[in-house]
């Protein structure tokens, strides 16, 4: 009877489903319209379409559930021979077939038209839609099942938003307060994201089971509130757990075993204030290390921690090349306020301890792309996407990718002499192990100054793009010999 119930809902809601799909299609097509060299940020109309499609989708799901509401005792379906499982599955089927499948088809067709292989396009889009169903569609169904009528559901949604804002003011002094956890802005952020979405999914599954099989609305509301609170707390998951999981998923485990980090004890380096000199050795060819997280602490002679740097995200100098450590000039900086300095200066025989979480990146692919106005245009770079160059004062490469390279470097190379321009870098570590996504413009692209060289000259050059991929995730710990903070203070 699943299909039969689906048809009844379709009869009532087809035009709303059509409106949501139209809005979503509009946003996909508007994105496709921008091309490589359009704005990387979506224009207002596209943003508006995305927001409208999102809200209309949530409204549609609410309407869908409210065709056969759960709370209350007067609904006709309760006394009909309708299997509860059929009813729930019919609602899920509607979300999949009437709402998500058309959007998926449009996205696949758009990517296919952009020249991406159908296989990767389908898998990427399917993964994305599945994730959206589990972490958004299902929770929306579950939320709507807790209330009777559209008005009550919308009022409850507003109440949740207001409660979040009030909670934000109480906890952090501002209304918008996504909790910032240790994985935030690191390549491991996906672990917290997946954990959060899993909690939403599990909560939704529990609520839907309670509602459709037992109709325990009051209890289900408490369960929903508990799961929601838990999901909001997942960004605070410990770094060690997230990174340990990432280590288990390393593409080439053990490839970083030869990498050694050591304290640089040369006299001219050790007296630098608030900076621990570090050297790295044992790197395989064409590889470098990314610092995902570093914890600097000071320990006393007995090994007890007397101070810990509250900031554990690495400081990255984006202008630095991919030398041994990305964005690192061989010195691990940390900051300390004056009260701490005064307190700790009185202590002798302090040791600095550095706990590193690191990722070894290796060369993945190298592409040589012709430049010059006659060569500007479309080309497909395997494993990157569909790219185009534009030659002017700068030679710029922009791509539409399904999954942008995590890190890349580019320079202009003279085909005859082998001369190179200084390189440009783009690096946004993201170690998510899943497949691709729907296509999008590679945000930054890469631009190299060429100073308007005329075509006969510039065509002798080529645009070299090198992409890097993570190979291994590993940890290292360093402990310095005794340091004296008074030396640093006097040197300031």
């Amino acid at each position: 009877m699943i299909w039969h119930i689906f048809k009844k809902d379709w009869k009532l809601l087809w035009w709303q489903a059509g409106a949501v799909v139209a809005l979503a299609t509009g946003s996909v097509l508007a994105d496709a319209q921008r091309g490589y060299f359009g704005s990387t940020d979506p224009p207002r109309t596209e943003t508006a379409l995305i927001i409208l499609a999102f809200l209309a989708g949530l409204f549609l799901i609410t309407e869908l559930v409210q065709q056969d509401p759960i709370p209350g005792g007067a609904q006709d379906w309760l006394v009909r021979p309708v299997k509860r499982a059929d009813l729930l599955l019919a609602k899920l089927l509607f979300v999949l077939l009437a709402l998500e499948a058309p959007i998926l088809i449009v996205a696949v067709m758009t990517d296919f038209a952009r020249g991406f292989p159908l296989g990767t396009t389908l898998s990427g889009v399917t993964v994305e839609m599945l994730a959206m169903t589990l972490s958004l569609g299902l929770p929306a169904l579950a939320f709507a099942s807790l209330f009777r009528g559209i008005t009550e559901t919308i009022a409850a949604a507003f109440a949740v938003v207001l409660a979040l804002m009030a909670g934000g003011f109480l906890i952090m002094g501002r209304a918008n307060f996504p909790l910032v956890g240790p994985t935030n802005q690191t390549g491991v952020h996906w672990v917290a994201d997946v954990a959060e979405n899993s909690v939403y999914f599990l909560g939704a599954a529990a609520v839907l089971a309670m509602q459709y099989y037992r109709r325990q609305t009051v209890r289900a509301r408490w369960v929903a509130a508990a799961f929601f609170a838990l999901a909001r707390l997942t960004p605070m998951m410990p770094w060690q757990s997230a990174f340990a999981l990432q280590q288990g998923l390393a593409p080439s485990p053990g490839s970083a075993s030869s990498v050694v980090l050591a304290f640089d004890s040369s006299p001219n380096r050790t007296r630098l204030a608030f900076c621990i000199p570090v050297t790295v050795s044992g790197l395989p060819a064409d590889s470098w290390v990314n610092v995902d997280r570093v914890s600097v602490s000071l320990t006393d002679a007995a090994g007890g921690v007397v101070w810990k740097n509250p900031i554990q995200l690495p400081w990255i100098d984006s202008a630095k090349p991919f030398s041994s450590i990305r964005g690192h000039d061989g010195c691990e900086p940390f900051s300390m306020d004056s009260d701490e300095i005064n307190r700790l200066s009185k202590m002798s025989a302090l040791h600095a301890r550095l706990d590193y979480s690191l990722t070894l990146f290796g060369l993945d692919k190298s592409y040589a792309i012709p430049v010059g106005s006659s060569s500007d245009g479309d080309q497909v770079l395997p494993d990157v996407g569909r790219c185009g160059t534009r030659t002017g004062y700068w030679v710029t490469l922009r791509c539409i990718t399904q999954k942008a390279p995590t890190c890349a470097m580019a320079f202009l190379s003279n085909k005859t002499t082998g001369l190179r321009t200084p390189p440009a870098y783009s690096c946004n570590p993201d170690y998510e192990p899943f497949g691709g996504e729907t296509s999008t413009t590679w945000g930054s692209g890469l631009s190299i100054p060429s100073r308007n060289l005329p075509d006969p000259v510039i065509t002798n050059w080529q645009f070299v793009l090198r992409t890097y991929k993570p190979l291994d995730h590993f940890t290292r710990q360093l402990t310095t010999p005794a340091i004296d903070l008074r030396d640093w203070v006097s040197g300031l």
Partner: protein, 297 residues
């Protein structure tokens, strides 16, 4: 068909049902009567597992109400004045939606009923009047010839003509169907109900066949020789009133053979005794008034 044993239902601190026990036998037309808030709707909702019992047991068609499955529901017709239907569907769309759920759905019977009840096919359910909606519910409950038909206040708020149409449809199609009906409109069911149960404040006051009930209730008027003080009367004489030299009451344990003897033993100076059979409605009013008075005491 239905057995209810020591049924309790609490909503928070409020006890809607307090140890209710009922027995509806197959083929009967069982009327559940009681004042507003007596627990009739809660009882009915518990039967079909819309509400779960706090304690006690409910068996319907041999199955624990908590385990009632679509199989049993496909043999149960349900009509309630508060039933919510999908307002945006048309009558014919909703009938088309319901048909596949009932293996025994008879389309000819559906057509006959639709003609009899004069329910417009192409109207949206949300546009139907209250009376038309109740007729629509009946139209959705009868075509599969349910073994059990549950009617919760079906006549509430209906004009006499619609009531008559409903009753005619019920009587013509009921056949072997067991009927459980809760209603205030006792006049409508007087000729139909085979059994009556009276509920007050979640408790069963009595359960009896209608013929026995009508037999044991009499409206009595006694005229005395002279003006008398109201005498002490037995508890089964309800709604006792006296004015001047006459007294009226409802005898709830009337027996032709013993009544005269009883009156003679309890009262003196009796000049004339008149007894009248009572309608179900009058019995209900007498019982409800008596229950209310005993609560206020």
């Amino acid at each position: 068909m239905i057995q209810v044993r020591d049924l309790w239902k609490k909503f928070g601190r409020h006890e809607a049902l307090r140890g209710l026990s009922l027995n509806v036998s197959e083929g009967s037309a069982y009327a559940l009567i009681g004042a507003n808030g007596a627990g009739k709707t809660t009882t009915i909702r518990t039967l079909v597992n819309i509400e779960e019992p706090t304690s006690g047991s409910v068996t319907i068609m041999g199955v624990d109400s908590r385990r009632i499955s679509p199989r049993e529901l496909s043999y149960i017709g349900y009509v309630s004045e508060s039933q919510e239907l999908p307002a945006r569907l048309t009558v014919q769309d909703y009938l088309a939606y319901l048909r596949p759920f009932y293996p025994t759905w008879d389309r000819d019977l559906e057509s006959a009923l639709r003609a009899q009840l004069r329910v417009p096919r192409n109207w949206r359910i949300g546009h139907l009047s209250h009376g038309m909606r109740i007729k629509m519910l009946l139209l959705c409950a009868l075509p599969y010839r349910p073994k059990l038909l549950i009617l919760d206040e079906p006549f509430s708020g209906l004009d006499p003509l619609v009531r008559e149409e409903l009753m005619q449809s019920l009587l013509s199609q009921a056949g072997e169907t067991t009927i459980l009906i809760s209603t205030h409109e006792l006049g409508e069911i007087e000729g139909m109900a085979t059994h009556v149960a009276f509920i007050d404040q979640g408790r069963l006051l009595f359960e009896q066949s209608t013929s026995d009930l009508m037999e044991r209730f009499r409206e009595v008027r006694i005229t005395f020789e002279s003006e008398v003080r109201p005498p002490e009367t037995p508890a089964d004489w309800l709604d006792v009133r006296s004015a001047g030299s006459s007294m009226t009451f409802v005898d709830s344990q009337f027996s032709d053979s013993t009544f005269g003897e009883r009156v003679g033993a309890l009262l003196t100076g009796v000049r004339r005794v008149e007894t009248e059979p009572m309608s179900l409605r009058s019995i209900f009013i007498a019982l409800a008034r008596s229950a209310r008075e005993s609560r206020s005491e």
